[in-house]
């Protein structure tokens, strides 16, 4: 009798426990559902008060005594337009290429020991007819190995391998005398626009960007309080939200800028030596050249889809010290130019219409 009583108490207790657990679970589920059904808490709900920052040209801030670092940085103004000789050189370059086609483009794709990436990028670009693509030139920087033979794709595009005279980043920026088009898409073997977005990017270059580096990947240069330039991946913060460079792993350039970059102008010779010494920053340097000559910024273009980039996790831009090295390039190049030529651009171009 006692045993039976205890057993019934146990059963009761067990039932109570089960009921409690079930109730707790139901309650937790209801809470989770309610939380998920509610409007998402947006980060930008946490708005700062709408304080207007004055328009300060950071590059013109005076050095605050006792506030600068261990060295006194040299200070360089923004470049002005009193550059008669460089402009004359650029104009001559423009005339030199005036007879080239302006309604087609050439791809200059740099590669170094990455046959898998190169093949995949070529496969995608050649998989569809791209109306304005005239030729692909592979800048072959692996001097230890012979390139494959030239060929013509099923879509009718000639692919030519051009062996570099040395493994130098400057080779990609050569104004190849065999190019037949004024527009050159500078690119690397691991990044591309999808075919119809590439055609769109070229048409955008024609319409809006012939005097700009026009492409997919924006970068930013920001001065610190001491006037030193820092390199970065840009920010959507409302007091920034600009860019001043488009890097040359996927961007259109007019031949005349490549000509100027490769010219025997004293500054450009120094710049090319610097690029070879550091094996870096030819893309920053080309942005300096274009904005120096035109006084305008570059042009960011997004197709219907994002560009594709299968840069491995170990790519150069992921290495520790990458941003520091790039910042050093900014400051060294500014010194070589004697002024800061980069110009912030506030607009970018996207494909298609907005339906609101």
């Amino acid at each position: 009798m006692v045993a039976k009583y205890i057993a019934s108490l146990r059963a009761l207790a067990a039932r109570r426990v089960v009921t409690l657990v079930a109730a707790a679970f139901v309650l937790a589920s209801v809470i989770v559902i309610l939380v998920r059904l509610g409007p998402p808490a947006k980060l930008n709900d946490l708005k700062l008060p709408d304080v207007k920052l004055p328009d300060i040209d950071m590059s013109k801030l005076p050095n605050i005594p006792g506030f600068s670092g261990s060295h006194e940085p040299e200070h360089y103004e923004k470049c002005d337009r009193n550059i008669t000789e460089p402009l004359k050189l650029w104009k001559a370059a423009q005339q030199k290429y005036d007879k080239l086609m302006d309604d087609k483009f050439t791809i200059a794709m740099q590669t170094y020991k990455r046959p898998k990436e190169l093949d995949e990028t070529l496969r995608v670009i050649l998989s569809e007819k791209i109306a304005s693509l005239h030729e692909i030139v592979i800048i072959w920087n692996n001097l230890e190995e012979k390139p494959p033979g030239n060929f013509k794709s099923e879509t009718g595009v000639p692919v030519r391998y051009r062996v570099s005279e040395r493994n130098s980043l400057n080779m990609k920026l050569l104004p190849d005398p065999d190019f037949k088009t004024q527009a050159v898409l500078l690119s690397d073997d691991d990044v591309y626009y999808k075919p119809q977005d590439l055609e769109f990017a070229f048409q955008t270059w024609r319409k809006f960007g012939q005097h700009r580096l026009t492409g997919a990947l924006p970068r930013c240069a920001t001065p610190d309080a001491e006037g030193n330039w820092g390199y970065g991946f840009c920010s959507k913060d409302s007091n920034q939200d600009v860019y001043s460079m488009i890097i040359t792993n996927l961007c259109f350039s007019h031949m005349s800028f490549l000509d100027y970059y490769s010219s025997n102008n004293t500054v450009m010779q120094k710049v090319r030596d610097y690029v070879d010494d550091h094996f870096n920053c030819e893309d920053i340097a080309l942005n300096y050249v274009v904005s120096y000559l035109t006084g305008t910024g570059p042009l960011l273009v997004k197709g219907r889809d994002k560009y594709v980039n299968y840069e491995p996790a170990q790519g150069i831009s992921k290495k520790p010290g990458h941003l520091e090295a790039r910042s050093k390039c900014l400051n060294d190049l500014t010194k070589m130019f004697g002024c800061m030529p980069l110009v912030n651009e506030t607009a970018h171009i996207e494909r298609g219409v907005i339906v609101l």
Copy 2:
């Protein structure tokens, strides 16, 4: 004893029911949670096979016998560039306004019996300094009432009320000889860019859009199988995703286009009469003028925020028959021009950088 037995059975049954309901609820909750935790099913996962449509110029499709409607529509080709006289007239207009400022702009804002909307729009535009805004001219179309007096805002912008000689939509497009700027923001009293986006839109006009209608609201013209043009709000569908008009309730125009629109060119006189007869479509007509003279499309610009539009639910574009009336304008204007001048644009401009 029997009663007790029945009662215990009832209690058992009740407990079973409670347990079953709780279990069902828990199960349902788990299912709901799992569904919500999973990746969202994207509509664009349902991709159509990647069939390429041939590039057909729809305007050049022949009429298929027996396939056309009750009337045989007149067919008009795309306009070509053999328009020596109109181009001469436009060039003269450009020279006429060459001395006006090109680094400032004027707002020409049309209003008709909507003091509340007008006041609110003015309040917002004048609430912040807009660096390049030179003057606001209110096109006062309510001839029954005197406008308020001119004034200068706290931000230093003169606001001038200009009484129209008659209540006509053509009044907004007059090249006012008192304008001091080459750029005119054509606008209505119920729609605006926020101040800093307005400055951005103007800078975009300067850099990319001086020969285009550059503004906020895109519209589309699409031919049917019979060659009749249909007016619409555009679509993001991948085989469309273009636009060919920016309507003039918020867009920049160069003075030379207003001059041409208001000239004594025979076609333009007919067009203005048509606009007055139908009290509609002056904005479509200005798009025809600009693309006719330049051979290019307009330019859609989005600021950081969407433009603001407090058009009431009863606004003209919501009325039944609106799209039909606008489509009729497209076809009638095409007849007047003798060809279809509109050009599809595939790109638009947005403010800021893309951080990916």
